[in-house]
Symmetry: C2
Subunit: 615 residues, 2 copies
């Protein structure tokens, strides 16, 4: 396209953004209008993408990090012939795939859900890593960012990672329109301020007038030709560009234009320009899954093995069995045991240093490219990335997260290192799976099973050694549980998981010696939960004790009650959990202080069978 | 102290770090040894601090961001005479106040709990903001950081905030010992790499040999004399400095020295040097609380008012009534309505831009200085700061967090903007209070009551307008609830909160028309929960329906069951919550699609009273 045609295309994108938002009665047209020229030039001249074959391995990848500018994205889809005008005007309506903020669940061209700012670039880094280190089909990754979102630390985690990895297949296009939601940004139109920051992190930068299509064209060319560094294009733009009523004005974020018809006229009216987007180069997937033989580690009953060790060994074995498995570390691989994978599969290991947001974002990016990522750190530190986990669930991203050092059982390090909210956090994520194994063989099997699930999967591992209680050939289906003690005289059921399973067994033995038979359930699948077994136990034993190394809210106890939230009779129960703020102490001291050791379980159980109120 | 004395003091700090870790059998001596000279010079020459009067308004503030180097901190306390040698050797033992990672709960000299990396500097920025803009007693804030933790984006949120605010009362001391937990950092000993980054964010930087006490002394002097900019001192150090066996060696992170006695001998043996720390200058608190008259906004029954609006108005009124209330915004103050406070009290308003981690950290810092912070953003985006909220609870920090735009009720914007995990996340925080008002008067009262609570407080507000159902003089105690419908023929209780309260009332009216009397409880205090009222309702009506605009895990339904976890009989119940991934649509469409509107409640309730299983 020549200059005039590019300008016309940009005006069409603006008009369509105004039209879509007007039809919806909501949306962010002004944030779309600032970036219309940037989008037009990219679409017409630089993006290599086959909209009919979004899975084409040679396709460039585009991420709209400023997800609220969705009208611009959908207008671009229309210009590329991927959606028609009628669909464009369904924007933000119930059932439309053109949602308020883009998600990939119905739109195959969307790489990742955006709308929580500062996430597009980190995920783009993950895709670029995939392109550079794994896929190697030569695609480029283009991320359109807003300027406000550069205040998010996650952007600088991404900048650091991309700079360090020399991701020259990655371009950040920053739409510096100087206005955030509630007013001016910190740096306004000071492009140099942003350039200095990106340069410090090892990026090449280009400053450009974002409304000069020829200059933008040259900037993209410069990004493509820059080797050894990612490029940030810092584009000076005006929010609401092209409509005098709204251009560069505050107080208009996220609002449809008041006089849409006038605005459309001012922008030159409705057009129907169709862009021929460049085809991607021929490419084949280099990472076709090598499905080798999966030989999980085997542990003998009675051995003492930490579940984190079993995780590391199983992950390394899974990496051997499956060529599509990759691992990511938050600079604690020696503790989580992800380093076992690193030693065997260094080519598929991504060290993310202490940057949990970037670690999870990279996992989402890798999953978007078909890889099966396992990202691990301390359970406590996954809280750092909760917004990314939440957004991953909106993307329907198939990521595996593994949190080690769960609970008070870690001992001396104290509460900052104890995952005590992780079960609550992960259970509340839509469509998630939450697993908490108690022994090494169970861990190994669950690590392998996670790979095949939908959505966000979470596995919780423990620091200390624990006895192997299952044989290596036992099966552990997701949504299942194990009944470890049962008789027809059981007067109560103890439901435990992870480190509380051995405690529950000891408590059961102790109660047995006092003549009280109790059932013990190992609820390794915290979500989905084994409703049938829990209901049966409730019916047969009358009451339950749940015991967990987690705060009392949102964890195992709540998961158990999920089996009884449909109107059926609910058993009496006592919930044992960590109700105080732990300090330092040995693991045994911690379990005792929290009231979740065998002695505490037995005491609570006894009161319960005597029908006393316990708390 | 002269050079030799400083060197001796540093060696004492090393020896004591080795001894404390040896006595504990765990801990991080090598991470302490690298920073011993930095600490010695600071303590002896530059820190102005009265250990007998930690609340002295003129005291400098020291934050150990690399919290795992706690042996160094406690050794410094010993050198300053604040703890004795006997206590030093209780390190990491059950009941000792010298925990694995420092917390302020028993140690009055600790400003904030650390141990999750990348949090000390952001909290330090909050304290420095307090010093610069509010307290104005001239204190300096010194933050000792590790080099690994500079990979955390939160550090760059802090750098951006401090640079932009010209916090020349803040010094970051970076112990660049080149080794993280599992191996070398990204930049090793490349001090320039860090300097470039800090400079780009507007900081003054000093590069120094961190083991040359005179050079370190000069660096601190330069930091103090630098005006208009915060200073980062980038100190080249060796992990394990001083003991050949461990110095600059990998694989020794977080491990006591194997041959402690030999190491102590190599370091010159045990010393008992006592440092006379400089007294703080005379200062008085300028921010003595002006307790004016609190005049909350009043709303008339039947008005339609969004609870976010009521929050903004109440916060502004609270700011007038209490001089110690401050507000922080994540660049969405026009949406959360925090801007109402900004207009009336701009001197106590902190714009944090889109950097939720820094926003919460700044709140923690301000709370540490005695202010009562209210930090607000969309409920969904508080997930970004979960690790900071978790650590705030360990600090026992009295912060108020307010999340707007909760749930599917926001409508068209879609799931990225919907807080659907916030109740689970906030409930799982130890010692937290979780509030979810349904009308404007209730909101106003709760905003005021939050200020006086202990620990982390969370208030959830809604985007859309809702009817005022309570009079302006009604009281809403924390831990209470409101019974909105009751009779002695109630066959069921609907428990709702926030946007589901009007739906519950409509469902009750509809069931009433069908001859089914139901009780309705407004459970505005989600945590602590009103156990007595719930138990009474269960006894009197037999069964419950809970209905919430939140995912099914960890929210209102689980909170209700918290009343029945002590062995008492549990009522049959049906839990209505958001079980699908919402898309775009109008607020009414969203409530209906999620099955939490009046029609859905009535349908579920009818089945429940008929003793059917509902799900």
């Amino acid at each position: 396209m020549n200059t005039r045609e590019l300008v016309e295309l940009a005006q069409q994108l603006r008009v369509d953004s105004v039209r879509a938002s007007a039809a919806a009665g909501s949306g962010h047209p002004t944030s779309s209008m600032s970036a219309a020229d940037l989008m037009a030039v990219l679409l017409a001249h630089h993006l290599r993408y086959d909209f009919d074959r979004p899975a084409h391995p040679g396709n460039d990848r585009f991420v709209l990090s400023k997800g609220h500018a969705s009208p611009l994205l959908y207008s671009a889809y229309k210009a590329a012939g991927a959606v028609d005008d009628e669909e464009l005007l369904t924007f933000r309506k119930l059932g439309s795939r053109l949602e308020g903020h883009p998600t990939p669940r119905q739109l195959p061209w969307v790489e990742t859900a955006t709308g929580s700012l500062g996430q597009g670039l980190p995920v783009g880094v993950g895709i670029a890593l995939s392109g550079k280190r794994l896929d190697r089909t030569g695609y480029r990754v283009w991320v359109l960012c807003g300027d406000s979102e550069l205040a998010e630390g996650s952007v600088w985690e991404a900048a650091e990672h991309a700079g360090h990895e020399h991701l020259d297949n990655l371009t950040a296009i920053v739409d510096v329109n100087r206005l955030g939601q509630r007013g001016p940004t910190r740096h306004g139109h000071d492009l140099d301020a942003y350039a200095r920051r990106f340069q410090a992190f090892g990026w090449h930068t280009v400053e450009v007038d974002g409304h000069d299509v020829d200059a933008v064209d040259r900037a993209y060319g410069e990004a493509i030709s820059t080797k050894g560094q990612p490029t940030a294009i810092l584009a000076r733009t005006l929010k609401g560009k092209g409509v005098a009523d709204v251009e560069d004005r505050e107080g208009l974020h996220g609002k449809p234009l008041k006089n849409a018809d006038d605005a459309i006229a001012e922008l030159g009216g409705v057009r129907d320009i169709r862009v021929e987007v460049h085809e991607p180069p021929a490419a084949r997937m280099l990472h076709a899954v090598r499905t080798g033989h999966l030989e999980l580690p085997r542990f003998e009953k009675g051995e003492e093995v930490a579940t984190r060790n079993a995780f590391g060994q199983a992950l390394a074995a899974l990496g051997t069995g499956r060529g599509d498995v990759v691992a990511l570390d938050g600079e604690v691989g020696d503790s989580t045991r992800a380093e076992f994978f690193a030693k065997e599969h260094p080519d598929r290991y991504f060290e993310c240093y202490i940057a949990e947001q970037q670690m999870v974002a990279a996992a989402v990016g890798l999953a978007a490219r078909g890889w099966v990522p396992y990202a691990s750190t301390f359970a406590a530190f996954l809280t750092r990335a909760y917004d990314f986990v939440r957004m991953a669930s909106i993307s329907g991203s198939g990521i595996n997260l593994v949190g080690s050092h769960a609970g008070v059982a870690i001992g001396q390090d104290g509460p900052s290192q104890m995952g005590l909210e992780d079960l609550a956090m992960m259970r509340a994520v839509h469509g998630s799976t939450v697993l908490y194994p108690c022994d090494a063989n169970q861990t190994a099997h669950l690590v392998a099973e996670m790979a095949g699930l939908e959505g966000v999967r979470y596995l919780r591992t423990s620091r200390g050694e624990s006895p192997v209680i299952y044989g290596p050939d036992e099966e552990f289906p997701i949504g299942g549980s194990k009944v470890l003690r049962a008789s027809d005289q059981d007067r109560m059921t103890i439901v435990a998981a992870g480190v509380t399973v051995p405690e529950a067994l000891a408590a059961a033995d102790s109660l047995d010696r006092e003549g009280v038979k109790v059932r013990v359930i190992d609820l390794y699948s915290v979500k989905p939960v084994d409703r049938l077994t829990l209901r049966q136990a409730a019916e047969e034993t009358g009451c339950l004790v749940t015991v967990e190394d987690h705060h009392e809210e949102g964890g195992l106890g709540d998961a158990v009650l999920d089996a009884f939230g449909d109107g059926r009779p609910v058993p009496r129960l006592v919930r044992l959990a960590v109700r105080t703020m732990p300090g330092s102490g040995s693991p045994d001291e911690q379990l005792h202080a929290a009231g979740i050791d065998a002695e505490s379980i037995a005491a609570a159980g006894k009161l319960l069978v005597e029908e006393a109120v316990v708390r």
